[in-house]
């Protein structure tokens, strides 16, 4: 490590924000960026200039984040945007997702890579339908940490009972969805209470400010506790004099640890071998762990190509019959009988939608008939048949090897986001006859 990096070496937290239209999400994001000194003078000047031109009295912090012409014209956020800021302790990548009902897919997109989700509620309204939807999406995508930010505390006289009631209701609901870690913070994004600086108005609150929590929440998982999963992206064969017999499998560890000498199985073929060498971007190493990108060489000469999975036990069982929870992303509905492409890790195969078992009403979590297909923003359960076997893990076990996308073969449109297995721990429709298909 160089001297400068040593002084500033930090971890990275990817998180997503969700909030309803008037909950003040843009103000919160603006406040986080502004108070962490991530908004620079020229950006602020541009916002002040644009606000004045619109006849607004004060600078509109929402203009910092609404980047597209249509968004500024309509005063709404229509697409996921990514923001970057840093403190001395940590670097942050924020997926800023719009909160409209019709943009469920955007929250799904933002949550797919997030390790933490901030759900914003208006203290005056408490937990509403939208709040439950946001909690459900965070649970569905297995976002490990959820923060409830109870905003506009200034408008309820900074009253503890208001906060306590909302926090209790939300925490119970999130727990019922299987969310393991929920932290509630009372804030005022407009006044700056408990966002970056501790509030002078809420002595009764003993917890961290929102930023302090973001800086200190443990990120990542312990790779040594998970089985190794290494999807092969690309075969490296230099065929040069120096590296005449070099045949390396390039990829990014989706989970777990690989060591030289480890016994591994290549899926779907089932061939077994031993890790002979690991190159960490050109430098030999003894071990590698998720999410490092490395190149692996095996002791045996096996036919391996892009799309194969090098895995350590316990192994996923390759199957052509996939049951999954999906969020439909495209305006083009998904119907039973549709022929699509399915991209899972580095493998793309043809697939058929055999059954749309049910749609999930994301507000009540009730199952509804899926007979009429899935429309944009619908979440449902499907059964797919693939042309080639895939080695999927259950999404609840592995967000990377348990996820896939469906693609329209006619024009390449990304249709659907898929998560192998059931949606929620509490929702069960397991049909014994399907279980047998997995073997």
């Amino acid at each position: 490590m160089s001297t400068t990096e040593e002084a500033t070496a930090t971890s990275l937290l990817r998180f997503a924000t969700a909030g309803s239209v008037d909950d003040g999400k843009s103000t919160l994001v603006g406040r986080l960026l502004h108070d962490s000194k991530s908004v620079l003078a020229d950006q602020l000047e541009a916002v002040e200039h644009a606000s004045r031109r619109r006849g607004q009295q004060a600078p509109d912090l929402a203009l910092l984040t609404d980047g597209l012409r249509a968004e500024r014209e309509q005063g709404i956020t229509i697409d996921v945007a990514y923001r970057y800021f840093a403190t001395a302790r940590r670097r942050f990548i924020l997926a800023d997702t719009p909160g409209h009902v019709q943009y469920t897919r955007n929250m799904v997109t933002g949550a797919s890579t997030a390790e933490l989700a901030v759900v914003l509620v208006d203290a005056r309204n408490g937990v509403v339908e939208q709040t439950r939807r946001h909690a459900a999406v965070a649970a569905l995508l297995r976002v490990p940490h959820v923060v409830l930010a109870v905003n506009k505390m200034d408008l309820v006289d900074y009253a503890e009972p208001v906060f306590a009631a909302i926090a209790a209701e939300f925490t119970a609901y999130a727990a019922s969805l299987g969310v393991k870690d929920v932290v509630a913070v009372p804030i005022s994004a407009l006044a700056g209470d408990n966002v970056v600086e501790p509030s002078a108005h809420m002595d009764w609150y003993g917890g961290p400010t929102l930023l302090e929590h973001l800086e200190t929440v443990p990120v990542g998982t312990d790779p040594s506790a998970e089985p190794a999963r290494f999807p092969v992206q690309y075969v490296i064969r230099p065929q040069s004099e120096e590296h005449h017999d070099y045949r390396g499998y390039a990829g990014q560890l989706a989970s777990g640890v690989l060591r030289v000498g480890d016994a591994v199985t290549v899926l779907p073929s089932g061939h077994t071998s031993t890790v002979a060498a690991i190159d960490a971007l050109g430098v030999p190493t003894e071990l590698a762990w998720a999410p490092q990108s490395v190149t692996v060489r095996l002791a045996d000469d096996i036919d391996i190509s892009r799309g194969d999975l090098i895995a350590a036990a316990p192994l996923p069982v390759p199957t052509k019959d996939i049951e999954a929870t999906v969020c439909h992303l495209s305006e083009r509905p998904l119907h039973v009988g549709a022929k699509v492409l399915l991209k899972h890790t580095t493998r793309t195969v043809r697939a058929l939608v055999k059954e749309i078992s049910y749609r999930i009403d994301i507000d009540s979590l009730e199952q509804r008939s899926g007979a009429e297909g899935l429309n944009v923003n619908d979440i449902g359960h499907v059964v797919l048949r693939t042309a080639e076997p895939l080695a999927l893990d259950d999404y609840t076990e592995n967000r990377r090897t348990g996820s896939f996308i469906l693609i329209d073969p006619s024009d390449g449109t990304t249709l659907t986001a898929g998560m192998a297995g059931e949606a929620f721990d509490t929702v069960s429709t397991t049909d014994a006859s399907h279980e047998e298909d997995w073997v």
Partner: protein
């Protein structure tokens, strides 16, 4: 309220922690390899600026010990810094790469493009770029764009589909989930790929330091003849500056970005080492583009509009 006291998580707490630079590097390498696995003819847009130099460095690491399986494409505005062109040619020779050049000057000479009254050539790059992509039949084009640069870019995907006119339609972008990038495209379309999407300017500089990457010397403080136009220090030269009313001074400056000489400003600086540059950037109250790019200031949606036309 399960407010448990959270312990500060530090890299030393686990042998399996990755620093933010390691995490960004792993992600970028994954993106390079996905493109190598899925496309027929990828190309790296290479300007000789720090972002494209970092891109090339990451590509070299992604395929080691094999060579980079991509060619380079340089859109030459004709107003390049000589130090940058020299760097480009050295890099091409050192790594035994293939270089394609699309030159704005050729288009002006042939009468296809007309010099703008303000002399800016950055906006003229789009046509040669798109022609270069078409002529090379490139189906994936790596760009060094970062989402932190500009608010229209904050909406940019890692894999961004462009139609047969090279146009970006922000309303029709494909959702991008997990690390599952969709590279499907029809003949004539191409995909712009941004492996540095999640990097910030400071990340790029810290990585340059950590990896010991050489840059064109104009990134470090040096004495140079400059003149002031629209509040920026521009380098005097054959490209058309200064006017009679713009006195030339010799100043200690450096560049934060490297682009066309007509619109890339230098900043006053004594930072002549990488450590000093990083300290200076960390303390700066101006964004990279705000400090040094004239073309972004033209309108509130300047970048979005140019991207819609096919610009990076």
């Amino acid at each position: 309220m399960t407010v448990t006291t959270q312990r500060l998580f530090r890299a030393e707490d686990t042998p399996f922690a990755l620093s933010h630079l390691d995490a960004l590097e792993a992600e970028s390498v994954h993106i390079f390899r996905e493109v190598a696995g899925e496309f027929e003819r990828p190309v790296i847009l290479f300007s000789g600026g720090k972002d494209s130099i970092v891109m090339l460095h990451l590509a070299l690491k992604a395929f080691a010990p094999a060579p980079v399986p991509f060619a380079l494409l340089h859109v030459d505005t004709g107003h390049n810094f000589p130090e940058v062109l020299a760097y480009r040619d050295r890099a091409v020779a050192k790594h035994n790469l293939r270089l394609h050049v699309a030159a704005v000057q050729d288009y002006i000479d042939r009468g296809v493009l007309r010099e703008r009254p303000d002399g800016l050539r950055n906006p003229l790059q789009t046509v040669p770029l798109l022609d270069g992509i078409e002529a090379g039949k490139f189906d994936a084009v790596f760009g060094g764009g970062r989402r932190d640069e500009e608010k229209a870019r904050a909406k940019e995907r890692v894999f961004s589909l462009r139609d047969e006119f090279g146009a970006w339609d922000p309303r029709r972008q494909r959702p991008e989930l997990w690390s599952l990038y969709n590279g499907r495209h029809a003949a004539g379309e191409h995909v712009r790929v941004f492996p540095l999407s999640n990097w910030t300017e400071l990340d790029v500089w810290q990585y340059i330091e950590r990896e010991g990457i050489e840059l064109p010397e104009i990134y470090y403080a040096h004495r140079r003849e400059v003149f002031k136009r629209d509040g920026m220090w521009l380098t005097a030269g054959e490209w058309g500056g200064p006017k009679a009313t713009e006195p030339v001074e010799t100043r200690q400056v450096r560049y934060r970005t490297v682009g066309d000489m007509s619109c890339t400003g230098a900043v006053d600086s004594d930072a002549d080492t990488i450590e000093a540059v990083i300290t200076e950037i960390a303390a700066s109250r101006l964004t990279e583009r705000g400090a040094t790019r004239a073309d972004d200031k033209m309108s509130e949606a300047a970048m979005e509009d140019r991207k819609r036309e096919g610009y990076f």
